[in-house]
Amino acid sequence: MIQYTLRRLGLMAITLFGVSVAIFVLLRIVPGNIADILFDSAGMIDPAEKQQIVKDLGLDLPLITQYTHWIGGLLHGDLGYSYVSEKPVLDEILPRIPITARLAGLALMFAICTGVPFGVISAVRQNSWLDYALRVVSLAALSMPSFWLGLLVLMAFVDWLGLLPIYDKAPATWGAAILMYCVPAASVGLRSSALIMRLTRSSMLEVLRQDYVRTARSKGLSEAAVTFTHALRNAMLPVITVIGIETAFLFGGLIVTETVFNIPGIARFLVVAISWRDYPMVQNLVMFIAIVVVSVNLIVDLAYMLVDPRIRLRT
């Protein structure tokens, strides 16, 4: 188990190194840099002033030097300064992480709390009206683009309740935060919920047809014990994989929800930083998201071992 974890941690480090090189190179391949964009926003270019900015920001240094400066700083906890805000990158990123984490956490909680039980119910009551209804709802949820759903939710709130659940200032308490995030979280979590529900259903249907489930029933176990203790635990492996993927997606892919609900999280911030070619900001944000993704993958792999003893024994 320890050896397996160490091996995975080693792979994580190699992956992160690859990500760091890829994002560094890709950012510089994209046409234009911060100097171009600063002058774009001002509407004109004075070549001398532009060259001065390029020099001030160290963009005229060789790429290898720029890369080693960045990685060296990163390893020492110095993420550099944002080209746009002229503030330390860490000061800009840190306040936004809890915002996205809360939104992603609530969305994930909503998705798991609704997706898994409904998936089980749908499988257990296969081909009943309830199963049909849940399948239709899940298909609809998968088909609805989140920006469209988000706007519909906002319009409904304005028309029916006369209020708008968007972010306009930092909530003072945890209760206020949950209230503020619950609508966008449900809106973005609906798609994940539908995905988890459909996967749980198909996985459960497969497991429920297994011989050991029949054996459990023949032993006289209650239907609840058969479903939840024997079937669901074995059906959870693919569901855990999807939950892991969705967690990673939710951390980096909330751009639409953050835009529609005006939430100042890291996804929206990343897109703006890319449009400004704010290299220090983009590089460090992408590295942060990459760390979250590989960490979640590691946790998912470790969770497999906890859920399925066969994997534990093999490793």
Binding site: L38, I45, E86, E92, F157, G162, K169, N262, P264
Partner: protein
Amino acid sequence: MKRSGFLLAVVCLLGLGHAALAQKQGSTLRVTHRDNPPSASILEEATISTDMPFMAVFNNLVVFDPASPVNRLDKVVPDLATSWAWSDNDRTLTFKLHQGVKWHDGKPFTSADVKCTWDMLTGKVQGKLRKNPRKTWWFNIKDVATDGDDTVIFHLYDPQPSIMAMFAGGFSPVYPCHVPANEMRTHPIGTGPFKFESFKQNESIRLVRNPDYWKPGKPYLDAIEYTIIPNRSTMVLAMAAGKFDLSFTADLTPELTKSLMEQVPTMQCVMQPTGTQGNLLVNRERPPFDNAQIRKAMVLSIDRKAFSDILSQGVFQVGGANMPPPEGFWGWSKEYMETVPGYGADVEKSREQGRAIMKSLGYGPDHMLQLKVTTRNIPDYRDAAVILIDHLKSVYIQAELEPLDSSVWYARLIRKDFSVAMNIQGTGIDDPDVQFFENFLCDSQRNYTSYCNADLEKEFHRQSQMKDIDARRKLVWDIDKTLQEDGARPVVFHAQAGTCWWPRVHGINIARNTIYNHWRFEDVWLDQ
């Protein structure tokens, strides 16, 4: 009779007193913001995204009368300057300054700050500003001198009445000498009615009341909070739900303004020119566009009314380089415009002339001129470019759209790396000096089409020195006509957009001919 007159005077005074008392102190004005400003430094930016939220931090030497709906030379009133006087055949401009004014950090404001600001703007002091987008505005300033703490003297090369308009514009605040430029980009210090409190990137901007403001009793608001909402649909819903008091200026398209007024009938909305115009850029150095006849045929293909109808349901206006009336002061009258080629009501007749030109050059329905229309890859630009491509077909020109990322758009224009482009550009002040010197001087950085007409340039300078406004306007019309006839940068439309606020907001006075002014908020108060 005397007695009734006295009574009337008393009633009037009581009425005035009541009106003054009606202004409530306190409350926070909540305003939407369309995007993240590139910085907080007005002098270094050329966008309303910076100008509107940070204007209330500063004062100018002079301003356009905040109570007047138009920004015009005859509406300039004192701000940090108490008075001004012209001398030396209108080549010297002397400002007397307010005494006792303090910067937000407690340091005194003096004439040295004014000198320092314009030394930076004219480029006499290098390295203070990272960007200086309006350097061309101040080409006529020879030097700036001080006479004690309360007098500042501008020496000009030539008389220039319009320089007062530039001093009064929202982009010309006075900066403190003692604060470094990089600090002004992140934490601006001014003398204005509101102090800077915070600027959270992509989130919000907050200004708070300056209790030591040098205009007694003002401002009325405790604070102004801008929330950055890039998504227009969310912004409109937030306005309708009453979450905000005022929308960002000119952030609502004509359709959205109409929709918001239908949703909330009590909403106060004003449509105003945005100061931006759509224009056609033709690179006259690149064959075959070095042929004036081809450029003329292209201009004749444009149906300006169609642009307005499609892009804005007929709200956008048609005109030359200067903003058209009634909002604009220097634009052509309707009658005059009819005399300009390509501006006549009969578009088909113009296109027939265009086709004849193209045929004489060997082009026709079976042999169309192939070209690329380059534009910036954002909706306002793209939509206009697509309509242009459609219009060009009418004169045997087959065009393909080349959308460019914003980061390379201006660089390509500066390098003249385009044949034909659809451009949208803004002008800070409704003034011919700003328009002509920024865009049409032979050596101007913004002269993207390399148009150069030495004789016309002399006329730019001649109009700039004229004091008789009516005579100057006549000359400006003629210059503008020549520019359009020469296809220097054919203007296709002048954009308009809406600003809305709830009836609880009082003291808002939107300027009819600019979006870049009247955002000091010192007279604004909330009735709640």
